[in-house]
């Protein structure tokens, strides 16, 4: 049975590599340079997306069609409305609760 020999042998080899490599990689991701490269890539990805979005938006707007950023803006505006409705609902519930807990008005 080759398995009896091969699995522990492969495992041993992997562990040896992992023991040497893992601390170095973990130290690398903790460097300031790694953080800067990550930030740079995130920024580049975002501006590349913005550029592409602007070009496609121009083309769609020329045909009187809404583009991705228009839809995103609408979705966010709807989201803000939804948030306000949620807040109002909570305030109403709290108001109703307080009314229930208040003793009846003596003058009433």
């Amino acid at each position: 049975m080759g398995e009896l020999v091969s699995v522990p042998a492969v495992r041993g080899a992997y562990d040896a590599i992992e023991r040497r490599l893992a601390p170095r990689l973990e130290a690398l991701v903790r460097t300031k340079q790694y953080a800067q490269v990550t930030a740079l890539l995130a920024g580049a990805r975002s501006s590349a997306g913005d550029q592409a979005g602007r070009v496609s938006a121009c083309l769609l707007h020329a045909c009187n069609l809404p583009a991705g950023p228009d839809i995103s803006r609408l979705r966010r505006q709807l989201g803000e409305l939804d948030r306000e409705v949620r807040q109002l609902r909570l305030e109403l519930a709290a108001y109703a609760e307080n009314r229930r807990e208040e003793p009846p008005d003596a003058d009433a």
Binding site: M1, E3, L4, V7, R11, Y14, E18, L21, A22, L25, E26, L28, V29, R30, K32, Y34, A35, Q36, T38, A39, L40, A42, G43, R45, S46, S47, G68, I71, S72, R75, R76, L78, G79, E80, D82, R83, R86, Q87, R89, L90, A93, A94, E97
Partner: protein, 364 residues
């Protein structure tokens, strides 16, 4: 007779290898096809309140021996079923068996409707409303509050901003307070000036894949090691089931609401407001010293997501006279799942709550 034991041993080894090879093949097919995924989050529960995407769950139990009830507030970046992973390996199950009445505030999956949510929406609105719902449902005037990971931050902010909130005790697990000690997760924003806006998705939230990549980058070899471990123990049904449950959860993140993410990066990370006393919520200056209820902090010494130096200072920041810290030789997930959780974390939390609870709790 040593001469007889050798052939028996060889036959046994061959038989064992044949059985293992068959199990490897069976489990390999299950993994490749994605069939028979382990059931997760199965403890019976009822949704007793909804608020946007958030839901308040009440776990069913016929054996409440302690009160007031326990309300768990989960993190904003991952799924709450890690606390109820599989039958027999469930934080919730342990709490119910111990006789507690357990509620969980799950934030659901945020979408564009949540992009404008600020920390105040959680701390000053949703959590107080959920506490009121629990009190009403249980017929009590107080709750024990427990926060896990970023849920712990939310509970700290709530308790600090609402000194008259009806809290009986507060427990936080793997909860960062010194954000300068977060390591690479924090450095990407604090050391580079990266604008959160640049990582937001079309829905205005931080996409789940950003969170996933960020967590994965902390231990670059971990994923490969997981696959090697799996290959080695592919014959072990129990291991494979646990692997599928854990890896499934670890890759199952949810979007982080954009406005809350911006606020967290500026106030909690760059200003390190929990440590420097520059915490402002809803226009009010807030300090963790305002927390005076019985307090327990649980942290993992091998936690690579929230390192011990990031979570340890909380015990000195809260103003409670009755405060305790539990340091465990565990990782971030090991606090709630697995052997350390079952033998140390959960019994300690249960004991902490038991000592501060009313036995045979009568809500009336």
């Amino acid at each position: 007779m040593p001469t007889l034991s050798v052939p028996h041993s060889a036959v046994d080894r061959v038989r064992s290898e044949v059985e293992r090879t068959a199990s490897r093949a069976r489990n390999g097919i299950k993994l490749a096809t994605g069939t028979r995924r382990p059931g997760m989050g199965l403890t019976p529960k009822d949704v007793i309140w909804r608020h946007g995407r958030a839901e308040l769950w009440h776990y069913r139990t016929g054996d409440v021996r302690y009160g007031p009830p326990l309300l768990i507030v989960f993190s904003l970046v991952s799924r709450s079923y890690i606390l109820d992973l599989t039958p027999g390996n469930s934080f919730i199950e342990h709490l119910l068996t111990a006789g507690f009445d357990v509620y969980l505030l799950d934030w659901g999956v945020p979408d564009e409707r949540d992009a404008a949510n600020r920390l105040e929406d959680y701390v000053d609105a949703a959590i107080p409303a959920a506490i009121a719902q629990v009190c009403r449902r249980a017929g009590t005037g107080k709750v024990n509050l427990l926060g896990y990971c970023f849920g712990g931050v939310l509970t700290l902010l709530h308790a600090a901003h609402h000194p008259y909130s009806p809290l009986h005790s507060l427990t936080v697990m793997a909860t960062p307070v010194d954000f300068t000690q977060l390591g690479p997760l924090g450095d990407v924003f604090s050391a580079t000036g990266l604008d959160v806006e640049s990582i937001l998705g079309d829905d205005g939230n931080v996409p789940p894949w950003v969170m996933l990549q960020a967590f994965r980058s902390l231990t670059p070899m971990a994923e490969v090691t997981q696959h090697v471990n799996l290959w080695e123990r592919l014959w072990d049904d129990e291991y494979v089931a646990a692997y599928r449950a854990m890896t499934g959860w670890a890759a199952d993140h949810v979007p982080f609401p954009g406005a809350a993410a911006k606020q967290a990066v500026q106030m909690l990370l760059r200003d390190n407001a929990l440590m420097t006393g520059r915490l402002v919520l809803g226009g009010d200056q807030v300090s963790l010293a305002g927390i005076t209820v019985p307090f327990l902090s649980v942290l993992g010494l091998r936690d690579h997501i929230i390192p011990e130096p990031a979570s340890a200072p909380v015990i000195n920041l809260v103003g409670s006279a009755d405060k305790h810290e539990l340091r465990l030789d565990a990782g971030h997930i090991g606090l709630v799942v697995g052997r350390t959780a079952a033998t140390t974390t959960i019994p300690t939390i249960i004991e902490f709550l038991r000592q501060r609870s009313d036995r045979n709790h009568d809500p009336s």
